[in-house]
Amino acid sequence: MVPLSYYLILSAILFACGVTGFLIKRNIITIFMSIELMLNGVNLSFVAFAVRWHNLSGQVFVFFVMVVAAAEAAVGLAIIIAVFRTRETLNIDQVNLLKL
């Protein structure tokens, strides 16, 4: 059997990849994909811990995360389309009417 720590390390790596992608990528869609990667990294942790504790609520949590991620994707893509319509670009550096 694969030890728990392997899953946790993989999950941490996935999460870190997501964070890095969020910070360095410039395309809004890619940034959004990085967020999904972070969520899936978390999901892996939940499932691994659910096995460790023999507690199904970890697995149930993952389903809820997926549902929420789907809802977030629907809304997020709609917002991204609205941005594209007004600005004709998806580069986050050019979406800069409001100074950050």
């Binding site: 972070m38 691994a48 809304v75 917002i79 991204i80 941005v83 979406v95």
Partner: protein, 492 residues
């Protein structure tokens, strides 16, 4: 395992009363969405606004009904808990919703926004916020947080033909989901450390660990990550960068809504988590976030020329003052924090209602320049805004004074002298930029003499109510504070 075993039975009838305000708001929200395509657009604005208004009023009544002692306690297998604490926040959310709907009527017509989705999303967002304040299970907290966040992401971009509104929406969405992922990772680690997602059980497990010697590092890391996620949502430094941009671009009534109601709900979650789960070192986490928020928020606000950005930085600073209460002892800190959320909600919704009315079509007039001579062009509007600004400074006989007073004295009683000093110095600094706005309104020559459009009746009611609440909290804070103090025992 527990979830699967217990869901075999049906929930008992009182359980439904424990989520009655949420049920009411959902039904009204769905009714609005269904009515929207059926009625013609021009008449629809007012009718749908009326339905939403009725929904928020019924939610207030439902909260009153729920407040009867026999319905207190946990429902749905320890998912939600009705107590003085959750009822307090239900009231705050419902009151903010009512005021925002009242102040949206005119705004919707001036900006030519379709009303159906707007009012629907306001109500659905409020469902999430209500659930957040009564949830005692991290699964439900997560879902409620997302219901409220997703609604506000859309609302921020509601002027969808305007480039700055969509830009504010996309920034809010990306940074908000980023924060959610951190919150979720924190939940996963806490679940890993304690084997449960229910707050009372987590707190019991951690107390056991601590009394047995070493605490689990995993859980502390989890709490820190959850704090990062929730800190983003309340705009506490160093997670505040999104706030000014989003507040500047989003429609003003929506800013009034999202700078108060979701914040109140997230503070409710933070209160439950931070005061129930014993984690050493959490005080320092909050200490640093509070000091940073107050200082960065106030210093950045000094140089703003856009009134919405100014109020955004001021809301960061206010999140900092609120966090000071979180670092204090529970018996003073919790009532102080609750009182602060209520009075902050009253004055901030009011301030943004004035800003929204004055901004006019396309949100044109939002800079300090535009406000020059407002005292002459519209004495009533200027006077109302002045009272809200005085309350934001914390001048006596306004709610802001007692809010700050209780927070600072809670900090002193917890021996946080350093933090209290930082807070007091900061409120002195903050007075400068609020006063600057007042000076511009009353002492500068107006750039154009045309009178500001008269205040429509519904907006007038909203302004009157928030003024009344601000002054009531400033003159008679006793009852609210007593009520808040009673919930301390229930929270521990």
């Amino acid at each position: 395992m527990t979830l699967i075993q217990t869901t075999a039975a049906l929930p008992a009838a009182p359980d439904y009363v424990r989520i009655l305000p949420e049920i009411v708001l959902s039904i009204f929200g769905m009714a609005i969405m269904l009515l929207d395509p059926l009625i013609d657009e021009r008449r629809g604005q007012r009718l749908l606004g009326g339905v939403a208004l009725a929904g928020s009023l019924v939610a207030v009544v439902a909260t009153l009904f729920q407040a009867q002692q026999q319905f207190w306690g946990s429902g749905f297998w320890d998912m939600v808990k009705v107590d003085a604490f959750s009822i307090f926040f239900h009231f705050v959310v419902a009151a903010v919703l009512l005021l925002v709907i009242l102040s949206s009527y005119e705004y919707m017509e001036v900006q030519q926004i379709r009303a159906g989705e707007y009012y629907g999303l306001l109500l659905f967002g409020a469902v999430g916020m209500d659930l957040m304040s009564s949830a005692v299970e991290l699964v439900l907290i997560f879902i409620a947080l997302e219901i409220s966040s997703i609604s506000t992401y859309i609302l921020a971009g509601f002027r969808r033909r305007s480039a700055i509104s969509t830009e504010s929406s996309v920034k809010y969405f990306l940074l908000g989901s980023f924060a959610t992922a951190f919150f979720l990772y924190g939940v996963a680690l806490i679940f890993g450390a304690t084997g449960s997602t229910s707050i009372p059980r987590i707190s019991a497990a951690l107390t056991e660990y601590i009394s047995g010697g070493g605490g689990p590092l995993l859980a502390y890391l989890g709490i820190a990550l959850m704090f990062v996620g929730l800190g983003f949502k309340v705009a506490a430094a160093p997670f505040h960068i999104w706030t000014p941009d989003v507040y500047e671009g989003a429609p003003s009534p929506v800013v009034g809504f999202m700078s108060t109601a979701p914040k109140a709900a997230v503070f409710a979650v933070l209160l439950r988590i931070m005061f129930q789960i014993e984690a050493p070192g959490r005080i320092w986490l909050i200490w640093i976030a509070a000091a940073l928020s107050m200082t960065l928020g106030n210093i950045a606000a000094l140089v703003q020329d856009n009134v919405k950005r100014l109020l955004a930085y001021s809301s960061i600073a206010h999140a900092g003052y609120l966090l000071v209460a979180f670092a204090s002892l529970p018996e003073n800190g919790i009532p102080a924090a609750m009182f602060y959320t209520a009075s902050y909600a009253a004055m901030n919704v009011g301030a943004f209602a004035v800003v929204g009315h004055f901004a006019s079509a396309g949100e044109r007039y939002v800079t300090l320049e535009d406000y020059s001579g407002l005292g002459r062009r519209s004495p009533v509007l200027a006077a109302i805004l002045t009272i809200f600004l005085l309350s934001l400074i914390g001048i006596p006989i306004t709610g802001g004074f007692f809010a700050k007073f209780y927070v600072f004295s809670a900090a002193l009683q917890a021996n946080l002298v350093g933090l209290a000093i930082i807070a007091v110095v900061n409120s002195a600094v903050a007075a400068y930029y609020y006063l600057r706005l007042m000076v511009v309104m009353y002492m500068r020559e107006p750039r154009d003499e045309s009178p500001v459009p008269a205040i429509p009746s519904r907006l007038g009611i909203a302004l009157g109510l928030s003024l009344a609440a601000t002054i009531y909290l400033g003159i008679l804070p006793g009852r609210i504070l007593e009520y808040a103090a009673r919930s301390v025992a229930l929270l521990r």
